[in-house]
Amino acid sequence: MRNVWIICQKELGSYFASPVAYLLLTMFGLIFGFFFWNALAIFIVEGMDMQMRGQVFPMNINEQIIRPLLSNTSVVGLFFIPMITMRLFAEEKRTGTIELLVTSPVRDIEIIVGKWLAAVIMYCCLLLFTALNFAFLFRYGNPDWKPLAIGYLGLLLQAGALLAIGTFISTMTKNQIIAGAATFGVCLLLWVLGWVSGYETATWARVLSYMSVITHFESFGKGTLDSKDAIYYATVIFLGLFFTARSMESLRWRS
């Protein structure tokens, strides 16, 4: 456990010692800020509209602002995740520092989990920006915090799964760009797989759509905790890290 934390700290240090972390935070902050402003503006316009017409429809901050924003975040995350994971192993392989890690009295799995954990924490930093925006809703409105918390849990699980896949891909190349591009491709594919359920109901279509990371986020976005979806993410995290370990082992045999 101690070793995991040492590796994790070092990785976080590299994120914040280079412009990578700040660039990601800035871009994510801008994009999410724009989404938030949009969602809020629509909410306000609709509210005024209804008042003018004298109708009273129930307006709900959770349903009309938080929920769409969370699904937006889950999609935008797909674009940021490759940028978080691409350097994890590729960079160490390129500069040869991987030799230091592997010849230290540390287990492979500790290195892998440490790096993955650092990536998850980096993603949490991005989520902090969204929380900053949501804080205004709590200041001026009265949303329910429980669905929001579950939504965040879903975002974390989804990111954890994709980050595990990205970590795995990063062990396969010395080139960050290749690692990033491949991870992006896989993330995107895992997203659009869900589309087949729109026109096909055969078993293969249901399997494909089940594999999509986005379909499993829907329940979390609604604020309900579905164990089936949580298990899906946990499985992907486990598999991703497991394959990373196998890939690291094979590195040594082939080298």
Binding site: N3, I6, I7, K10, S14, T95, E99, L100, T103, P105
Partner: protein
């Protein structure tokens, strides 16, 4: 301390290390010598548990590299060919990170960081970014990183590669200094380095063990057959090299005469004598009695370099020996 038995490492198409066996005792400095691509780095990577062997065994301090890698890694300090540094880290921060990885903590860690900084003369760059350091400093940080947890065994892959002569000397002195506390294996393709720093040499070529012995023994072994350098010139401006060679060959105890070069009336020969035979006096007499001038006569002790070429039997060395003979005919 280190025991390697019939170690073999095969890659898809090539055999990088082929049934190498050797032993290194506690506190020794051993030079691992061989041309580029001989399998030095591969052997070192196996010893550091970076690569698993295809066959054979290797153990460090009694722990097998395959069965108890964690125990082996705890006892090894390793400096790869390029120092494994993170350019975005500061020197002290980096050493602390490595120290923690190797199991140090608290005041112990701080003490060791200060100690290695002072030992490797990098205290003045403690707060500098590693990416901004010169090659010499990076190498020393690499060395500091390897000794931070006071390991029993130090494995250094070409520790002086790419340094300027002053830095090379400093690094060598540092390594010699460290020998008392650690068992050291250092790989190199620079021969004087081995002569200067090591007590024992392991020579490998194309993955095979060529020789393993102490530096002194290797030199003595090669000196067994004395080799003499001789320069002769003709009195009246002309000299027939083949005649001189023939004359020299007739001296009792001479086993081989090679004409190295001939310029006008001067000719240089390299003469090898049989073991234990002292031929320099007879050679001088033979030259003078034949009416030639003796310009130079001196023993040429074989340097490690020649031993190395002899043992690894590279083509370059063979060509060097046959070419002058061919010229005479």
């Amino acid at each position: 301390m280190i025991k390697v038995t019939e170690l073999t490492k095969r890659y898809a198409r090539t055999t990088a290390v082929d049934q190498i066996s050797f032993e290194v005792g506690k506190g020794q400095i051993v030079g691992f010598l061989g041309p580029n691509g001989a399998g030095k780095t591969t052997t070192m990577r196996i010893l550091t548990c970076f690569l698993p062997p295809s066959a054979g065994t290797a153990s460090v301090a009694g722990f097998d590299v395959l069965e108890q890698p964690l125990e082996v890694k705890k006892r090894i300090g390793y400096l790869p060919e390029t120092p494994p540094i993170y350019p975005e880290m500061e020197t002290a921060e980096y050493l602390k990170f490595v120290g923690k990885l190797k199991g140090l903590s608290g005041s112990d860690l701080q003490k060791r960081v200060d100690y290695v900084c002072q030992r490797c003369a990098i205290a003045d760059v403690k707060t500098k970014l590693l990416g901004k350091l010169s090659k010499g400093y990076r190498q020393r940080v690499g060395l500091a990183q390897a000794i931070i947890h006071n390991p029993d065994v130090l494995i250094l892959d070409e520790p002086t590669a790419g340094l300027d002569p002053k830095q090379i000397n400093e690094t060598r002195d540092l390594i010699k200094d460290l020998a008392g506390e650690h068992t050291i294996i250092l790989s190199t393709h620079i021969l004087p380095e081995v002569e200067q720093t090591c007590q024992q040499v392991i020579i490998i070529n194309k993955g095979k063990l060529v020789a393993t012995d102490s530096v002194r023994n290797l030199q003595a072994r090669a000196r067994g057959a004395e080799s003499v350098l001789l320069e002769v010139s003709g009195r009246n401006g002309s000299l027939e090299a083949p005649i001189v060679q023939h004359k020299l060959e007739q001296v009792v105890g001479v086993s081989r005469v090679v004409c190295k070069e001939q310029v006008d009336s001067r000719a240089r020969f390299e003469i090898e004598s049989e073991k234990g035979r002292f031929v320099r006096g007879d050679l001088a007499r033979a030259v003078v009695e034949s009416g030639w001038d003796l310009n130079e006569l001196r023993p040429s002790a074989m340097s490690l370099e020649e031993i190395f070429l002899q043992l690894t039997g590279t083509e370059a060395a063979a060509e060097e020996k046959t070419a002058p003979e061919g010229k005479q005919q």
